[in-house]
């Protein structure tokens, strides 16, 4: 039996890559299964793991699978840096290291009985997918649920088959927009913030969860204020250079908070003083 992450949070555990699924250019999804029996893999939507390639390095990657599947980890990864570029070369059957899960979770309980706005940009759909699965599993607990998704181009839209299925099921009202339209795209072109003006919500009984590049989240929050959603009902998932996952190393410190331990999910008033701080 290996040690549980709560007991030895700094020790990577070996996982086998069970499947590699190409998603969009430079983006792929790993399904990971532990090489040794160590109990169920439990996480809450919004949390992340530290994934490592032995001898290369370690990166924080949000869990993008279903929290009700306790035998595997699912991670969607973009190949952009030294570690993730090596990850992209890995094949099914190879062994990687996993520490975690770390961080806090989206306010799914607080959102019960409310309209829910999930606003995501780019790869932000991956960390939000466990929340979507949760909502779909417990759809009766929520009122209107909107997924507002901004992508770079139509080719960069993540999980297109699932988006289609979720939309057709009627469980989610999905609005997608892209920055750059292309041949054959007859959907919206523009910013994800533009999608907010047209949704039907009860602003006093709504919760918004926002995930994407920081500047996108900043302006999405402003658009949500215009719809009279109170700042305390808007939650952002922050991304900084997490290293240890436990708040020990300080790499992800933002003002008085450590994103890896206290975050990555914050209500807007808690994190607002530190957004757009050039020195941080």
């Amino acid at each position: 039996m290996g040690a549980s992450p709560a007991i030895r949070p700094m020790t990577p555990r070996p996982f086998r890559i069970e499947a590699v699924r190409p998603e969009t250019p430079n983006v792929f999804t790993w399904t990971l299964r532990p090489t040794q029996e160590d109990g169920p893999l439990v996480f809450q939507p919004g949390q992340f793991n530290m994934l490592s390639i032995f001898g290369v390095g370690e990166v924080p990657i949000s869990v993008s699978g279903d929290a009700e599947q306790s035998e595997i980890w699912v991670h969607t990864i973009r190949s952009v840096g030294t570690v993730t570029q090596v990850m992209e070369t890995k094949k099914a059957g190879e062994i990687v290291g996993v520490r975690g899960p770390f961080g806090n979770t989206w306010p799914l309980q607080a959102a019960e009985g409310c309209d829910v706005v999930l606003a995501v940009g780019g790869l932000g759909l991956a960390p939000m997918r466990p929340t979507i699965y949760h909502v779909l599993h417990h759809r009766e607990r929520y009122k209107r649920v909107y997924l507002l998704y901004g992508a770079r181009t139509p080719k960069d839209i993540l999980y297109p088959d699932e988006l289609k299925a979720w939309s057709e099921s009627g469980a989610l009202d999905i609005r997608t927009t892209v920055d750059v339209g292309m041949d054959g795209w007859d959907g919206e072109v523009g910013l994800v913030t533009d999608l907010i003006s047209d949704i039907r919500i009860d602003p006093y009984h709504s919760i918004a969860m926002v995930c994407g590049p920081e500047i996108m989240m900043h302006f999405t929050a402003k658009a949500l204020f215009h719809r009279r959603i109170a700042p305390a009902r808007i939650f952002l998932s922050m991304e900084r250079s997490m290293r240890c996952g436990t708040g020990w190393c300080g790499h992800c410190q933002l003002g008085p908070t450590f994103l890896c331990k206290d975050g990555p999910v914050y209500d807007y008033p808690s994190i607002q003083p530190w957004l757009h701080k050039r020195e941080l």
Binding site: I61, V80, T84, G122, D179, G181, D186, S197, S241
Partner: protein, 157 residues
């Protein structure tokens, strides 16, 4: 839609809602209500800009034609947005195509007559120019953010 209905609609629309009643009446006198089907062209690049549109519902693509890449959609606009402001500035030629993406309801303004009327009603002309400038600013901001290519960037090591 009767002139009274048009005036009432204008009074409720965010673009016009701050205008005084007499200005709403002037605006309404140059407007008509229209429905547009998917594929209808509201504006054509290079043609005289004689109309502008205030959308009530639907979706319109602002397109540009690229010789090698064909039609490129720069952005889409919808409920509450204005389509067309080249009518306000010389040489009064539309800069882009505007194509209906989804069934659209809109107020259509006789822009040439309205522009002429601004000579008699400069305060109204100033108010409408300011409102159009707000739309231009919103579009310029959106275009700049799109140029940042936000979704192509990640902090992942």
């Amino acid at each position: 839609m009767t002139p009274q209905d048009l005036k009432a609609f204008l009074a409720e629309h965010p673009f016009f809602s701050t205008l005084p009643a007499e200005d709403l009446a002037i605006m309404a006198s140059y407007a008509e209500y229209a429905n547009f089907a998917v594929g209808d062209i509201l504006l054509r690049e290079g043609q005289q800009a004689t109309r502008f549109y205030v959308l009530r519902e639907g979706s319109v693509a602002i397109d540009v034609h690229h010789p090698a890449r064909g039609l490129i959609t720069l952005m889409t606009v919808g409920k509450g947005d204005v389509v067309g402001w080249s009518w306000l500035l010389e040489p009064y030629l539309s800069q882009f195509d505007a194509r209906v993406l989804r069934p659209t309801k809109a107020l259509v303004f006789d822009a040439v007559a309205l522009r002429a009327s601004f000579e008699q009603h400069p305060a109204l002309g100033y108010a409408v120019t300011r409102k159009l400038l707000a739309q231009v600013t919103k579009r310029l901001y959106a275009a700049r953010i799109q140029l940042l290519d936000l979704y192509g960037i990640s902090n992942n090591p």
